[in-house]
C-alpha cells in the first residue's frame, strides 16, 4: 500500500510542475507585457520602462524567471490583484468556502437523487420508469447549465417568487464569517432567520450545478447495477429467500458502488467547471465568479493564481480518490 501511495505521489509532482508552467506561460503569452499593462495607453519613456522591467525581474532569462515563480508559488505568494491590490492567495482563501459549500450541496443533491434513480432504472429495466430515468438523465447530461439556471430563476424566483434570484444571503443579515460557510456561520450566530435566508439562496444554484453530476451518477449507477444484478451471488441471495429490497440494497448496490465512487471523484473537475457558470448567473461570491471577473478585467495575477490553485485542488482530490479506490479495490493497487 505504501508503495502505491508513494508512486502516486511521485506522479503528481511533474503534473503540478506542468500546471505551474502553464500558469507561468499564461502571463508571458498574452499580448503586451505587465509593464505595458500598468502604464496604460499613453506608454512611457524607454528608461523608465527598462527600470520597471528590471524591478519586476522581467529582464532576466525566462528560465530564471520561471524558477523564481515556482519558488514564489511554493512559498504561497501568488502576487496581488491588479484591481483590488489584495493578495491573490488571500482573496482565493476568502472566496473558496462559498464555492465548496455550493459544490458540496450540488454533489449531495446529485447523489441523493441520482443513486436511487439509477437503482430504480436498473431494477425496473425496460419499463416506463427506466425510460423516464434514462431520458431525464440524457437530457440533464446535455443541458447547458447556464440556461437551465435561467429557467429555474424564471420559474421559481420570478414566476412563483419562492426563492431569491441571486447572492448568498439577504442583505439585512450581517453574520460574522467564522468558517466562511454561510450555513454554519448563521447557525453559529444562532440566527434562525439568517439561516433560512442562506438556505433559500442555496436551493437553485444547488439544483443548477448538481444536474449534470446527477445525470452522470444515475447512468453509471444503472449500468453498474445491471452488471451486478446478473452475478451469481445475487441469484444466490435471492434463492436464500432474502427479501427483494435487501438483495438490491445490501448485496447488489454495495458492489455496484465501486465504479460509482470513481465517477463521483471525477465529478470534482466538472463541479468546478460548472461552478464558474453557476456562480456567474447567481452572483454567488465564490472563486468561479471571481475568476471570470479577473478574465474580463484582465486582472492577470488573479487569472494565473486562480487557475493554478483550482488545478492544484483538482490534482489533490483526484489523488485522494485514486487512493480511496485503491483501498476499496485491491486489484487496482497491485495492478
Amino acid at each position: 500500500m505504501l508503495r502505491f501511495v508513494l508512486r502516486r505521489l511521485a506522479l503528481i509532482v511533474p503534473t503540478f510542475l506542468g500546471v505551474t508552467l502553464l500558469a507561468f506561460a499564461l502571463i508571458h503569452l498574452i499580448p503586451g507585457d505587465p509593464v505595458e499593462n500598468v502604464s496604460g495607453e499613453r506608454g512611457m519613456d524607454p528608461a523608465r520602462r527598462a527600470r520597471l522591467m528590471h524591478e519586476f525581474g522581467l529582464d532576466r532569462p525566462l528560465a530564471v524567471q520561471y524558477a523564481s515563480y515556482v519558488g514564489q508559488v511554493l512559498r504561497g505568494d501568488l502576487g496581488s490583484s491588479l484591481t483590488t491590490h489584495e493578495s491573490v492567495a488571500h482573496e482565493f482563501a476568502t472566496l473558496f468556502p462559498a464555492t465548496v459549500e455550493l459544490a458540496t450541496f450540488a454533489l449531495l443533491f446529485a447523489l441523493a437523487v441520482g443513486l436511487p434513480a439509477g437503482v430504480i432504472a436498473a431494477v425496473k429495466r425496460n419499463t416506463p420508469a427506466d425510460y423516464a430515468v434514462m431520458g431525464v438523465s440524457l437530457t440533464g447530461y446535455s443541458m447547458p447549465i447556464f440556461w437551465w439556471a435561467l429557467l429555474l430563476i424564471l420559474f421559481f424566483s420570478v414566476h412563483l417568487g419562492w426563492t431569491p434570484v441571486s447572492g448568498r444571503i439577504a442583505v439585512q443579515y450581517d453574520v460574522p464569517a467564522l468558517t466562511g460557510f454561510m450555513l454554519l456561520d448563521t447557525l453559529l450566530a444562532g440566527d434562525a432567520a439568517a439561516f433560512r435566508s442562506a438556505l433559500s439562496h442555496l436551493v437553485l444554484p444547488t439544483i443548477a450545478l448538481g444536474t449534470i453530476p446527477l445525470a452522470v451518477i444515475a447512468r453509471m449507477t444503472r449500468s453498474a447495477m445491471l452488471e451486478v444484478l446478473r452475478e451469481d451471488f445475487v441469484r444466490a441471495a435471492r434463492a436464500k429467500g432474502l427479501p427483494r429490497w435487501r438483495v438490491i440494497v445490501v448485496h447488489a448496490l454495495r458492489n455496484a458502488l465501486i465504479p460509482v465512487v470513481t465517477v463521483v471523484g471525477l465529478q470534482v473537475g466538472l463541479l468546478l467547471s460548472g461552478a464558474i457558470l453557476t456562480e456567474t448567473i447567481f452572483s454567488w461570491p465564490g472563486v468561479g465568479n471571481w475568476l471570470i471577473h479577473g478574465v474580463q478585467s484582465r486582472d492577470y495575477p488573479v487569472v494565473q493564481g486562480g487557475i493554478l490553485l483550482i488545478a492544484a485542488i483538482v490534482i489533490v482530490v483526484n489523488l485522494v480518490v485514486d487512493m480511496l479506490y485503491g483501498v476499496i479495490n485491491p486489484r487496482i493497487r497491485h495492478g
Binding site: 503534473t15 466538472l270 464558474i276 488545478a311
Partner: protein
C-alpha cells in the same frame, strides 16, 4: 475499404436503438438547416426591425407569424438568428473536433508506437491538461489568445485534445502487437506507413464515437464561452452570446432566453444520442465505459 456486408451489419445494430435513430435524424435535420440557412430563415439574422422590438412569439398575445419566435431587444427575428446559429454551432463543432482529432491522432500514434521518452513526455502534458476542469482550460486559452469565435474554437480543440490522444494511444498499444502489424513490418513497411496506414484505420471505431461525442462538448463549451462574453461577440447569432445579451430582458420577454437555450439542448442531445448509438453499434465492448 469496409465491405458492404459489414456496413449493413453496422446499420442493423445502429437502427435497433430508437434513440440513436432519433439522434441521427435530428443531426441530419440540423445539418440541412445549417446548409440552407440563407434560404430557410425568414429574415436576415442581423436586420433590425425597429418597430417590432421584443415582439412576442406567435402563440402569445400580440405575436404574429411574421416573427414566429418573437424578436429581441433591437428587433431582430429570433427564429432567423437561431437558424443561422445552427450554422455557427456546427461549424464550431466541425472545426474544433477536426483540429483536435488530427492532432490527437498524431500525438497518440507517436506515443503508443514509440513508447519510452516520447510517450512519457506526451502523456505528462496531457495529464496537465486534464488536471484543469475543461471550461477553466478553455478560459485560460481564451485569456491568452483573446476573446472571439475563432479563438474559442482553438480553445475547445485544446480542451478536447487529451481524450483523443489517450484513446489513440491505448488503441495503438493494443494493435501494435497484432500479427497483421508484424507481417507488415516484416514486409518492410516504415514507421510512418505502419502508424498511419496499417494501424490507424483499425483504431477508427472508438475515434468515431469520441468525435461524435466531442461535437456535443464543443457546442456546449462554445455556448458557455459565448455566454461568458469570451466566445463569439455580438451581433454574431451564436446561441450562447444570444443568451447573454438577452439576460436583462428575462422578466419582460422570457422568450428571448428560452429559445436559444432550447436550440443548444436539442443540438447537444442529438449528438449525444447519435454518439451513444454509434458506440453501441460499433463496439459492444465499449458499452461499459458509458458514463
Amino acid at each position: 475499404m469496409v465491405p458492404a456486408s459489414r456496413l449493413a451489419e453496422f446499420w442493423r445494430a445502429f437502427a435497433q436503438s430508437r434513440g440513436a435513430l432519433t439522434g441521427l435524424a435530428l443531426v441530419v435535420a440540423l445539418v440541412a438547416l445549417a446548409l440552407g440557412a440563407d434560404v430557410v430563415a425568414p429574415h436576415s439574422p442581423i436586420e433590425q426591425f425597429r418597430d417590432f422590438t421584443l415582439a412576442p412569439p406567435f402563440w402569445d398575445n400580440g405575436g404574429s407569424l411574421r416573427f414566429a419566435l418573437g424578436t429581441d431587444a433591437v428587433g431582430r427575428d429570433i427564429l432567423s438568428r437561431l437558424i443561422h446559429g445552427t450554422r455557427l454551432s456546427l461549424l464550431i463543432g466541425t472545426i474544433s473536433v477536426s483540429i483536435s482529432l488530427t492532432l490527437g491522432c498524431i500525438l497518440g500514434l507517436f506515443a503508443g508506437y514509440f513508447r519510452g521518452l516520447v510517450d512519457t513526455a506526451i502523456m505528462r502534458l496531457m495529464d496537465v491538461m486534464l488536471a484543469l476542469p475543461s471550461l477553466l482550460l478553455a478560459i485560460a486559452v481564451v485569456a491568452i489568445l483573446g476573446p472571439g469565435l475563432i479563438n474559442a474554437m482553438y480553445a475547445i480543440a485544446i480542451v478536447l485534445l487529451p481524450h483523443y490522444v489517450r484513446l489513440m494511444r491505448a488503441a495503438v498499444i493494443a494493435e501494435a502487437g497484432r500479427e497483421y502489424v508484424t507481417s507488415s513490418r516484416i514486409a518492410g513497411a516504415g514507421a510512418l506507413r505502419l502508424m498511419f496506414s496499417t494501424i490507424l484505420p483499425n483504431c477508427a471505431a472508438p475515434l468515431i464515437v469520441q468525435a461524435t461525442l466531442g461535437f456535443s462538448n464543443a457546442i456546449l463549451d462554445a455556448a458557455a464561452l459565448g455566454f461568458l462574453g469570451l466566445g463569439a461577440q455580438p451581433p454574431t447569432p451564436e446561441w450562447g452570446a444570444m443568451l447573454a445579451s438577452a439576460l436583462e430582458f428575462i422578466q419582460r420577454a422570457p422568450w428571448v432566453v428560452t429559445s436559444p437555450g432550447l436550440a443548444i439542448l436539442v443540438t447537444v442531445l442529438a449528438f449525444n444520442l447519435t454518439g451513444d448509438g454509434l458506440r453501441d453499434a460499433l463496439d459492444p465492448k465499449l458499452r461499459r465505459s458509458a458514463a
